[in-house]
């Protein structure tokens, strides 16, 4: 591999948002002619890092070097002028306008259809100038975004999770395009958390975890072991995970067969059962259908098909939403969905608690329960009158769990409850989940296989919308097996 100087690199790049550190001391090198993959879990800091390189965020510390010279960008427009362009997950296209109009806007002059076609041919990016963006498929829209950057002579192309919106056919086309663009002398970086793509598309890989680089410029990518990558991505954050004695599983609370979310939701043919006293830990790399499954189990979104037996009663899965009163659902978004940030803890408690039923909610009782929860769960807040936005992530999560456990319903569905939490809070939440499991059945969705093994009496792996159950266990072999299942390398 020829070691030329990197086209774009950074040293010691750091970014903080208030008390939260998104990136810490990141060093990275991007070379012309190579396709580079940036891997990491949700919240690992990949997007933040790329936003700094593309000028959207200003780094708090560190340096960015373009062709060896330090640069500072005040805005994405400035970085684009220097040749660094980024395609975001949410495309920055004006949908009612045509492709030609969007390109005109970006280039600052009106383009005829013929000019657009010429550009399209020159760069090998197929677009139709006359069609409106809103009528295009995701893959086509993405090509327009890429063409926008190429027409501005971008030499560094950054793509944020480009295949998350593509069907496999379009993804293959994209890989081919990226390779061609790199061969044309550009540095191409794409952010991903999908392990299986890496070998096919990238020349080298960098892995981020919790804001830091844990592995740099691993190459050649095709030789890398996805299970090892999975381990690098998730890592082990806790020194020791206690294996508490598991209570005997009790009655069958929830059993379902053939659950499907319908088109586009990403899961089908899911069978699962869970009993009182046990935690079913569903683990998988993000984007394999867990989000939709969790929302459907929580009663927030409808199932398209399947049969459910709940506490002995059968019902078609389509009618599961009516059972919302019997399911406690802790969604992934703790700040904007599970709680209302600008309301106080009492109001937030009443969101799902039965004290809130009836014409006159019992505010006094709710306040009592909030106080009790604050004591029991050691929630650090100024009092029941504190606004939800004032609580830290860990404390807010404890509050949400306390609220849902107070409801005394037979089933608890928790989605990524420990995501983004520091070590201490994480341990507390896990302990709370174990306590919750004593009186109810718990389905836990997590991205961390170590957590799944530590907490789950049984473990399931979501891959491409299908759930595969496997025995739990502990130790490195179990972990490795999970990693392989998560990467789709093994069928249980």
């Amino acid at each position: 591999m020829t070691q030329t100087a990197p086209l774009l690199s950074c040293r010691g790049l750091t970014k903080r948002f208030g008390p939260f550190t998104a990136n810490e001391a990141v060093d990275l090198d991007l070379f012309a002619g190579r396709v580079h993959a940036l891997l990491g879990e949700n919240g690992a800091g990949k997007s933040t890092l790329m936003h700094m390189l593309s000028g959207r965020y200003r780094p708090d510390a560190g340096q960015i070097l373009l062709s060896g010279r330090p640069v500072r960008f005040a805005s994405p427009a400035q970085s684009l002028r220097r040749g660094i362009g980024m395609v975001h997950q949410r495309f920055l296209l004006v949908e009612p306008l045509t492709v030609a109009e969007n390109l005109s806007l970006s280039l600052g002059r009106l383009l005829h259809a013929a000019e657009v076609r010429a550009l399209s041919e020159r760069f090998g990016v197929a677009v139709d100038p006359q069609r409106r963006v809103e009528d295009l498929s995701m893959g086509e829209r993405q090509r327009v975004e890429i063409l926008k950057l190429l027409a501005r002579d971008a030499s560094v192309l950054i793509l944020d999770e480009p295949t998350s919106v593509l069907v496999p056919e379009e993804a293959r086309e994209l890989y081919a395009l990226l390779r061609a663009l790199a061969l044309g002398g550009r540095a191409v970086v794409f952010i991903s958390h999908k392990l299986e793509e890496i070998g096919r598309t990238a020349d080298e890989v960098t892995v981020l975890r919790r804001g830091r680089v844990v592995a740099r410029n691993l190459a050649p990518a095709s030789d890398l072991d996805p299970a090892e990558l999975a381990r690098l991505m998730t890592g082990s954050a806790l020194p020791e995970r206690e294996q508490a004695a598991r209570p005997e599983p009790g009655e069958l609370v929830f059993a379902a067969t053939g659950l499907a979310g319908g088109e586009g939701t990403g899961f089908s043919g899911v069978d699962l059962q869970v009993r009182k006293g046990e935690i079913l830990a569903v683990v998988g790399v993000a984007g394999n259908g867990q989000e939709a499954l969790a929302a459907a189990l929580g009663g927030v979104r409808p199932f398209a098909a399947g049969e459910i037996a709940f506490l002995g009663r059968s019902l078609p899965a389509r009618r599961w939403g009516g059972q919302r009163g019997s399911v406690a659902y802790v969604p992934e978004d703790r700040h904007g969905r599970a709680t209302a940030p600008d309301l106080d803890l009492v109001d937030n408690f009443l969101l799902t608690s039965p004290c809130g039923a009836g014409l006159l909610p019992d505010f006094a009782e709710a306040e009592r329960r909030v106080r009790r929860a604050m004591e029991e769960f050691r929630i650090a807040a100024s009092g029941p009158g504190a606004k939800a936005r004032q609580l830290s992530g860990g404390n807010l999560q404890k509050f949400i769990l306390a609220r849902e456990m107070d409801r005394r319903v037979p089933l608890l569905v928790a989605e990524q409850p420990t995501q983004g939490l520091d070590v201490a809070a994480l341990a507390e939440i896990q302990a709370a989940l174990r306590r919750a499991a004593r009186d109810r059945a718990v389905i836990l969705f997590t991205g961390d296989p170590e957590e799944a093994l530590a907490l789950g009496s049984r473990v399931g792996v979501m891959y491409r919308g299908r759930l595969t159950l496997c025995p739990g266990g502990s130790g490195p072999q179990a972990l490795e097996r999970l990693g392989r299942l998560m990467a789709g390398l093994e069928a249980a």
């Binding site: 994405p76 427009a77 920055l92 296209l93 004006v94 949908e95 009612p96 306008l97 109009e101 969007n102 005109s104 806007l105 970006s106 600052g108 002059r109 009106l110 926008k148």
Partner: protein, 308 residues
């Protein structure tokens, strides 16, 4: 019979000019994403200052210029609050409407029932001789011809020029337009100011040609009707012309029925029709799928722009 029809049509066109002019201005503002409820105030300001300047100097161009300036100043206030301070567009617009009404009531008291410059009907040579159509379209006050010219101009601006592309992009998705380098704040401010100029012209039309003269509150809600017409026209200038003619036609019919003593429909139903029709179009636009695309509002209409 034909003579009657022609007369009604002529009055219809005559009654539509103010709404059309104000509506064109509002189309520009709303396509860029800013909702300006202050039309009423800007039109009144244009009416008064145009009339006063005309009466004082006798020069029609000075009069129109003063009217446009008055509209622009009030619009500038709206732009300051809405674009500069990212304040709520509805409240700011209402405040502008109130302000325009109050200022003109105050300053206008010396001008009530005073004679002033009159820009009466001006026959276009040759064209006005065309039977029927000539009478309807080419025997109108001069500002009507200005409206005829401004309509295609605004269309052309929005659909064929780079500036128009910027305006549309800013109104649909300000963040994307900003990322593409469009000066969002500047574009919105200019569009709001242009809207003010148009409204001033509309007001001047009322006080110099239509009524003519100055009377407190003489716009009588036509500013809000213009806003409703913009919605009725789903933000497309040509459809706005259709809406304005419809409004003018209904006004002309009311007048005609009263004069001719006819009783085909209760007067109040005729008066209420413009508003009800607008509501019906709004409902249809949201309910009927294929129309949805035609009728969709600019995506960022009403949302203040913050650079994240």
């Amino acid at each position: 019979m034909l003579a009657d029809l022609t007369l009604v049509a002529q009055i219809a066109v005559k009654s539509s000019v103010a709404v059309l002019l104000a509506g064109l201005g509002e189309v520009l503002a709303e396509r860029s994403g800013v909702f300006n409820l202050g039309q009423e105030g800007m039109m009144l300001a244009g009416a008064l200052f145009g009339f006063a300047a005309g009466a004082a100097t006798g020069d029609p161009f000075l009069a129109l210029g003063a009217a446009m300036l008055a509209g622009v100043l009030l619009a500038g206030l709206h732009a300051l609050f809405v674009v500069g301070l990212c304040a709520d567009q509805v409240l700011s617009g209402l405040a502008v409407a109130l302000l325009g009404g109050g200022i003109t009531a105050f300053l206008g008291r010396g001008w009530i029932s005073r004679p002033g410059l009159r820009l009466g009907t001006w026959d276009v040579p040759l064209l006005s001789k065309i039977p029927a159509l000539g009478e309807v379209f080419f025997r109108q006050p001069p500002l009507a011809y200005a409206a005829y010219a401004l309509l295609p101009l605004v269309c052309w601006l929005l659909s064929r020029t780079r500036a128009g592309l910027c305006i549309r992009a800013v109104g649909e998705n300000a963040q994307a337009a900003d990322a593409a380098g469009a000066p969002v704040r500047l574009v919105r401010t200019l569009c709001v100011l242009a809207g003010g100029a148009f409204s001033g012209l509309a007001g001047a039309y009322l006080s110099l040609s239509y009524t003519p003269g100055w009377k407190d509150g003489m716009t009588a809600g036509q500013g809000f009707i213009a806003i409703a017409m913009v919605l009725f026209a789903t933000w497309r200038p040509w459809r706005l012309a259709a809406g304005a003619i419809l409004f003018g036609g209904l006004s002309a019919l009311q007048f005609y029925f009263q004069v001719a003593g006819l009783d085909l429909a209760p007067i109040w139903v005729l008066r209420v029709l413009p508003y009800v029709l607008t509501l019906a179009v709004l409902v249809a636009a949201n309910v009927l799928g294929p129309l949805k695309r035609l009728a969709r509002a600019p995506g960022d209409l009403g949302r203040p722009f913050f650079r994240e």
